[in-house]
């Protein structure tokens, strides 16, 4: 009796979860249907699985190029964020003076500023730098990466700072006496110990940079530079009515996310939990 009700609960729970994800199912099945089939029954499985709309959507969205652009911007940004913010946080924790406290507090305080408050002056500043100094910040991936580092550094420094505080200093002191430089101490001794928090920092930043729309929409102008959210946005601007194409396009954009989730599911849930609680 008890066993049977346990099974029923198990099945009900999984059904609830699947029902919760039904919009994704709906997008998926309709990406194979032609218009008439779609209007007849939006919930049924398609009569045939042809990838015709996928091929068309891929071309119209420039999907391969957008995917590569997203990968490039996200990976390079996250590497720089991890390297720079872990170094900064370590030095700030291990330096006990007013300047160090002031810098840390400035990082924390700016986490209060919403992006909308910065976007217009930032764009003015960036285009001035591009025009007057000739540094190509505007309309380049590298400029976007630079801005990503700036926007995501505060939270990352904060997370590293909290973690490093709990590492005993004696280890580093021993290494310093042995004559290792600060650089060597950090990369050989400290950084490997930061692995758990590095995973959290990476995951939080990957999610927010991958999905970011507003900043890239302001900085990237050329079609060839567009990331996935950008090409999705323009795709919908041009083809609003052609839903079957749109469905195929949306399914394409979800696939990388599902792969990422399948590969790093445990780390992601753990990282999100830690990031939120701090």
């Amino acid at each position: 009796m008890k066993k049977a009700s346990g099974w029923i609960k198990s099945i009900l729970l999984i059904l609830l979860a699947l029902f919760f994800l039904s919009p994704i199912y709906i997008i998926f099945v309709n990406s194979f249907k032609d218009r008439q089939e779609l209007y007849e029954n939006a919930l049924s499985l398609p009569e045939s699985f042809s990838f015709q709309y996928y091929i068309e959507a891929m071309e119209k969205m420039n999907f391969v190029s957008a995917l590569l652009n997203s990968l490039y911007v996200t990976i390079v940004s996250v590497i720089f964020i991890v390297v720079l913010s872990s170094m900064t946080a370590w030095m700030l924790v291990r330096t006990n003076n007013k300047l160090s406290t002031f810098i840390f507090m400035t990082f924390i305080a700016t986490m209060l500023i919403p992006f909308q408050t910065l976007m217009m002056p930032l764009m003015q500043f960036i285009s001035t730098i591009t025009q007057d100094l000739g540094i190509p910040m505007y309309n380049t991936h590298e400029g976007l990466i630079y801005m990503n580092i700036g926007f995501h550094s505060a939270l990352s420094v904060f997370l590293y700072h909290g973690f490093i505080k709990s590492i005993p200093i004696t280890l580093e002191e021993a290494a310093t006496i042995d004559g290792a430089s600060k650089f060597g101490v950090f990369w050989r001794i400290i950084f490997p110990m930061l692995k758990p928090i590095t995973a959290t920092v990476m995951i939080l930043n990957v999610i927010s940079i991958w999905n970011d729309f507003l900043l890239p929409s302001l900085t990237l102008i050329d079609k060839g530079l567009r990331t996935i959210p950008l090409s999705t946005f323009y795709f919908f601007g041009e083809f609003t009515i052609q839903w079957n194409l749109a469905m195929a396009g949306l399914t394409l954009t979800i696939i990388p996310v599902i792969i990422f989730y399948a590969l790093a599911q445990k780390h992601i849930i753990k990282g999100i939990g830690e990031g939120a609680v701090k």
């Binding site: 994800l21 030095m91 700030l92 160090s100 500023i113 002056p121 507003l214 939120a276």
Partner: protein
């Protein structure tokens, strides 16, 4: 000598990031305050006219801005409630001793990973075609119709979709809170004959207060700042009925070309967001001391 060496390392480790951070965040923030006191159309050849505090005064005459402020407040209150109720319910379900709990947790969290822009488009289709289809199928056309063309229901659609995105996220926060509750307390109450509802109200919920504070304010500030879902799901429509704060600022600056006035709105936006967040920090700190 040793001190000089120390300073050299400090500069080497801290300055690169500090430089990037200053140019991307600090300088634009300061320039932004400056811009808010001018009237300017964003074209560098045109003159900027100093207007003092006029831009801030004008905010109270801007009907669309006041409407956005009200809609944003309404949206925030509604979605904070629904997200936390649904998220907590999910957390309770997936921490119970049900065999499929782990799989369910994995699935329920997934929407959070799909960006706001993309899931707004997904739901646009669901409201447009699937809701109409369900309406025809069931005859419940009062519930199942395209919510996005009705000014009032379009806002509810935003709440609905934002809840879908965020429920799995706060679920994770609540799971951590539930797992921290000592099992013997719950077992003792069970032996004393407390019903599941009593156990929830008298034990679980009070012990979940720290997790509740965290997720309330996480959802509060992200709801208040919502932009991506707003843009892709309703685009602010129908007839500006869902133009929330962040979108109103964007449209004022880049749509209408009122750079100074729009920036004044952006500063006010910052002050409100900062006030919400600081209240959160204050309350969390206070609670930690009490515990």
């Amino acid at each position: 000598m040793a001190n000089k060496n120390k300073r050299k390392w400090f500069v080497l480790f801290v300055v690169p990031l500090l430089f990037i951070f200053t140019t991307v965040v600090i300088i634009p923030f300061l320039i932004g305050i400056y811009y808010a006191f001018f009237e300017w159309d964003g074209i560098s050849a045109n003159p900027m006219e100093f207007v003092g505090l006029d831009n801030f005064g004008k905010l109270f005459d801007d009907d669309q801005f006041l409407r956005s402020a009200w809609l944003t407040t309404l949206f925030t209150v509604l979605s904070v409630i629904t997200i936390n109720v649904v998220g907590l319910a999910f957390a309770l379900l997936v921490t119970s001793k049900i065999r499929t709990a782990n799989a369910a947790r994995t699935l329920l969290f997934m929407p959070y990973l799909i960006g706001g822009l993309i899931l707004g488009y997904i739901w646009q289709f669901v409201f447009l075609d699937v809701f109409e289809f369900l309406g025809e199928l069931t005859g419940l056309t009062d519930v199942f119709f395209n919510w996005l063309i009705d000014p009032e229901f379009a806002l509810y659609a935003l709440v609905f979709v934002f809840t879908w995105q965020m429920a799995g996220y706060v679920m994770i926060v609540y799971i951590a809170g539930i797992q921290a509750i000592p099992n013997d307390v719950v077992e003792a109450a069970k032996i004393d004959g407390a019903t599941p509802w009593q156990r929830f109200m008298r034990i679980t919920l009070p012990l979940l207060m720290p997790a509740l504070t965290i997720s309330l304010f996480l959802t509060l500030s992200s709801a208040f700042k919502i932009y991506d879902v707003n843009l892709s799901l309703t685009g602010g429509g129908p007839a500006n009925a869902t133009e929330l704060f962040a979108m109103n600022i964007y449209n004022e600056i880049f749509g209408s070309g009122n750079y100074g006035f729009g920036q004044a709105k952006a500063i006010v936006f910052f002050v409100i967001v900062a006030a919400i967040t600081l209240t959160q920090v204050y309350l969390t700190k206070k609670r930690e001391v009490e515990m």
